[in-house]
């Protein structure tokens, strides 16, 4: 009996030992974070609004605290990284009271029963915090590629002429310094460079109001909404990277997302005119406007510009497309017999380059507040924006304009990749990540699904262009992955869900 008992216990013990790994192989608390062959003691971040932590159409403290460079710097500090100082705004609202065009952050509010972003008043005048520097987050909202190298971009005197940027004025080391100069002066051991969005973005967000400067290599002649020449782009970036790496610094670069992935261009559909919205006006519009227009346009071989409004499906917006042949004179002539000369002339002028939007046009987020509103100065019968009156150029990024943006973006991204590769730098395909985010499946993190959907997708802030803390955290992780891959470091990822998203009222 004793024997049997003993052998029973022995068998039990044997079984038990086979599968008794009750503890973790490596407890995370005992894992040592390695810097690999990088040196994180002095990390500087260069870039634009995305680098500064800008969101909700403003730079403010909460956003800065959740900038992706500060997230990366915190992880670097686990592997010998030094302090990371940001040029903090004086308040949590943002904007500048003494400069026109710099409102405070957008807040989500219930307006007429629907959630809408509402701008707030700026909270303080432009301050100067140069004395508190140097700063390691050198992200300057609004900066284009060539601005980082522009001496005097932080000179207060240049603000009125548009040669300076108030965000850089705040912390520029002198009236003649450049962002890149301020960075190099700190002798960084590691840098991140994510610049170039604004070289196409301001063109896009202005509905293509600027000029595509491809071929013009003198950026001093550019307007603020122009597309930067890709050769200028490649050359300035290459110069920055040479300057930053001259002292042996290592770094990471990111490419720029194309505009079709951000809610500012995807939120408002090209065809928001539902039968419910148009109601009984459909018949009147078809007989009084769309029908005659289509008939006249068809006669000039441009009948595909306009189709009759449907009473069952959602209808496209009426827009102006500057790339169309201007048929004003022809329309005037054709409509004169039925409408009389003065009215026909007005119609011809208004609809000469009009067409209905297609799925290939992008309607700006800001356009949503204009659709359906009366156009001042237009005849009362045809003054409804987007319905009877074509939306002006600045409200729509047409297919032609969009293609200019995409072409430039692709050229920029090719240069960025080539420069990073030639210097052996880590590279983040931010464009691919944003495309993934804008897909229906989105990106999941610990059970939370993130998409590029405006407000409820969780990653884009209320301006539809910049990210939330969670969106920036997704990007920070991409930077960290790229750094770890290239430099064999083991910086931990950040927990995306622990940062802030859109705040609901």
């Amino acid at each position: 009996m004793k024997r049997i008992l003993i052998s029973t216990i022995a068998v039990s013990a044997l079984l038990f030992n086979i599968s008794c790994d009750t503890d973790f192989d490596h407890d995370v608390s005992s894992i040592v974070v390695s810097k690999g062959n990088a040196d994180f003691t002095k990390y500087v971040a260069l870039g634009n609004s995305l680098t500064s932590g800008y969101r909700d159409n403003a730079l403010y403290i909460d956003g800065q605290n959740e900038s992706y460079p500060s997230m990366i710097a915190a992880q670097m500090q686990l592997a010998g990284g030094g302090a990371f100082k940001q040029p903090m705004m004086p308040n949590n609202t943002g904007g500048f009271t003494n400069l026109p065009g710099f409102a405070g952050k957008l807040n989500l509010q219930v307006v007429n029963g629907a959630l809408s972003p509402v701008p707030s008043a700026p909270a303080a005048a432009l301050d100067n915090i140069t004395a508190g520097g140097p700063y390691q987050n050198l992200g300057v909202p609004g900066a284009k590629s060539f601005h980082l190298g522009a001496a005097g971009y932080g000179n207060m005197a240049g603000l009125t002429t548009g040669k300076a940027n108030p965000y850089y004025v705040r912390f520029a080391t002198s009236g003649t310094s450049s962002v890149i100069g301020d960075a190099v002066a700190q002798a960084p051991t590691f840098f991140s460079l994510w610049i170039g969005n604004n070289d196409v973005l301001s063109y896009a967000t202005s509905g293509g109001s600027g000029v595509d400067q491809t071929g013009n290599v003198d950026p001093t002649t550019y307007g603020s909404n122009d597309i930067t020449d890709p050769n200028v782009f490649a050359s300035v970036i290459s110069g920055y990277v040479n300057a930053l790496t001259a002292g042996g610094a290592k770094g990471v670069m990111a490419n720029i997302p194309n505009v079709t992935s951000i809610p500012f261009f995807t939120r408002v559909p090209y065809n928001p005119l539902t039968p419910a919205l148009l109601g009984s006006n459909i018949t009147a519009l078809n007989t009084g406007l769309y029908g005659p227009l289509k008939q006249a346009l068809t006669a000039f071989g441009a009948g595909d510009r306009i189709n009759l409004l449907s009473a069952t499906a959602s209808n496209p917006l009426l827009i102006v497309d500057n790339s169309l042949t201007n048929l004003s004179a022809q329309l005037t002539l054709a409509l004169t017999p039925s409408l009389g000369a003065p009215t026909a002339a007005a119609f011809g002028q208004i609809y000469g380059q009009a067409r209905q939007a297609t799925a290939e046009d992008l309607v700006l987020l800001s356009t949503s507040s204009v659709i359906g509103t009366p156009v001042a100065g237009a005849p009362a019968s045809i003054n409804v924006n987007g319905i009877s009156y074509p939306l002006a150029n600045q409200y729509i990024l047409t297919k032609t304009e969009k293609n200019k943006v995409l072409t430039a973006t692709a050229a920029y991204n090719a240069s960025l990749k080539a420069i990073a590769t030639s210097k052996g730098l880590a590279f983040v395909d931010a464009n691919a990540k944003m495309t993934e985010l804008s897909a229906a499946s989105g990106i999941q993190f610990d059970g939370v699904k993130y998409t590029a959907t405006f407000v409820t997708g969780g990653t884009f802030s209320l301006d539809g262009v910049h990210l939330t803390g969670r969106g920036y955290a997704l990007i920070a992780n991409e930077f960290i992955k790229a750094i770890n891959t290239t430099y064999k470091s083991t910086l931990p990822m950040v927990n995306v869900n622990s940062y802030s998203g859109v705040k609901f009222p």
């Binding site: 049997i4 039990s12 599968s19 008794c20 973790f24 995370v28 219930v110 939370v448 699904k449 622990s498």
Partner: protein, 411 residues
């Protein structure tokens, strides 16, 4: 030897859980012997096999007991280097059974038990909070039963199962900046139990039992969204931020084959094999009345979460030694499988392959018996590899159980 057995039993100490949210704690005496089933000494056999009540020596037998479950689960993420442990309250499954011999050949009985349930409480800031912050699942089984002695050595029994229970589940709604609680305390379901009990000789007991699945239907669930009121219209909630939901939670069936052999009049050895039909739990469907928080293309109010459980086996071996006529010492060991793979790991019902050591003592005095038992659950640490939730890491757990049982007309 006597001393050693007793000491080991006390050391093994205090405690049994099985895969998923099945809690195998329905008899204190049984737990001490690895929760084996072929023991017809008192009414506690009723839950295990309705046929067993025919072989209880006394005309009337009553047994009742309760357990304490202490468990802790730790999750860590090697990529963020975060680590979180649960703060579970003590689980307290209870049971009570009564059996009465109406005629020599006919016995009736009643069993009350809590065979399914779990309470898991994670820190509110933990990584998997979108899946679960806190969950309480509970099912009470009420089983009236009758058993017939077909011959002096074999009986057949059947029971009706009325189950009542509830779910109380809180998870984070990160995108809405709040939480969701779904709750139904009035879920019910029905099922049955069936068994044969053989006693071909004084030395041998054989128990064959089947307990049917029970579909717990939550028809009057309330989903409370703790989010900003400005979101109520968007989510289709009423003025108090609530919506209704329906769901069905399967409590799975279990086949049991148990044997007890008396090696000497004082010493018996028991073995059990359980097969649990967890493959019935392929997905959990929450059907909300209005809230479009689901994931189905055709109906945005329906949330389907894959579970992909598979059926499991449990192997049990236990022994009892009568140290004196009144005093019993018991030991056991069982191996219990987790019903899901690493890729289906879900933190609301964390589960691990487990080796469990059990032990206990019993004392009887005239018609009264008192039993103590304990078990320590050595759960195998595992990977969390759930791509459905993009939830990765490692998990480990520890648990121990202790139980106190009383019986009337024991042994």
């Amino acid at each position: 030897m006597k001393k050693i057995v007793v000491t080991t039993a006390l050391l093994a100490g205090m405690l049994a859980q099985a895969g998923g949210f099945r809690v195998s704690l329905q008899g204190v005496k049984q737990l001490a012997m690895a929760h084996t089933s072929a023991h017809a000494e008192d009414a506690s056999v009723a839950f295990f096999n309705p046929a067993g009540i025919s072989f209880i020596p006394s005309k009337l037998s009553i047994a009742a007991g309760g357990f304490g479950i202490n468990s802790e689960i730790t999750y860590q993420n090697a990529s963020t280097l975060e680590s979180f442990s649960t703060d579970n309250p003590m689980g307290t499954p209870i049971y009570a059974a009564v059996a009465y011999k109406v005629l020599d050949e006919v016995s009736v009985g009643f069993s009350f038990a809590t065979p399914f349930g779990s309470t898991v409480k994670w820190p509110t800031d933990w990584a998997g909070r979108e899946i679960v912050q806190e969950i309480k699942l509970q099912a009470f089984y009420f089983q009236p039963m009758v058993s017939f002695k077909l011959a002096p050595w074999v009986s057949l029994g059947g029971s009706f199962i009325y189950a009542k229970g509830g779910v109380d589940w809180t998870k984070s709604l990160t995108q809405f900046g709040g939480n969701l609680n779904i709750k139904d305390e009035k879920a019910t379901g029905t099922g049955f139990g069936l068994g044969f009990y053989f006693k071909p000789s004084e030395k041998l007991d054989v128990s064959i039992a089947y307990r049917s699945p029970v579909d717990m239907k939550a028809d009057a669930g309330v989903a409370t969204f703790d989010v900003a009121p400005s979101l109520y219209p968007l989510i289709g909630l009423n003025a108090s931020g609530q919506d209704n939901f329906k769901a069905v939670l399967p409590l799975v069936d279990e086949y049991t084959l148990g044997v007890t052999y008396k090696i000497t009049p004082k010493w018996s050895v028991s073995g059990d094999f359980n097969y649990s039909g967890w493959d019935q739990y392929q997905q959990l469907t929450l059907d909300f009345e209005n809230a479009p928080v689901g994931n189905q293309a055709g109906d945005p109010t329906v949330l389907v979460s894959p579970k992909n459980f598979h059926s499991t086996q449990t192997w049990r071996v236990g022994t009892q030694y009568m140290v004196t006529d009144n005093f019993a010492a018991r030991l056991g060991y069982y191996y219990d499988e987790s019903p899901y793979e690493d890729k289906d790991f879900i933190p609301e019902t964390p589960s691990f392959d487990a080796n469990v050591i059990t032990g206990g003592i019993g004392y009887k005095w005239k018609g009264l018996g008192i039993d103590l038992s304990g078990a320590y659950n050595f759960q195998t640490a595992r990977k969390v590899d759930n791509s459905y939730y993009d939830f990765y890491g490692q998990a480990k757990a520890k648990a121990y159980y202790f139980g106190l049982g009383l019986s009337y007309n024991a042994f």
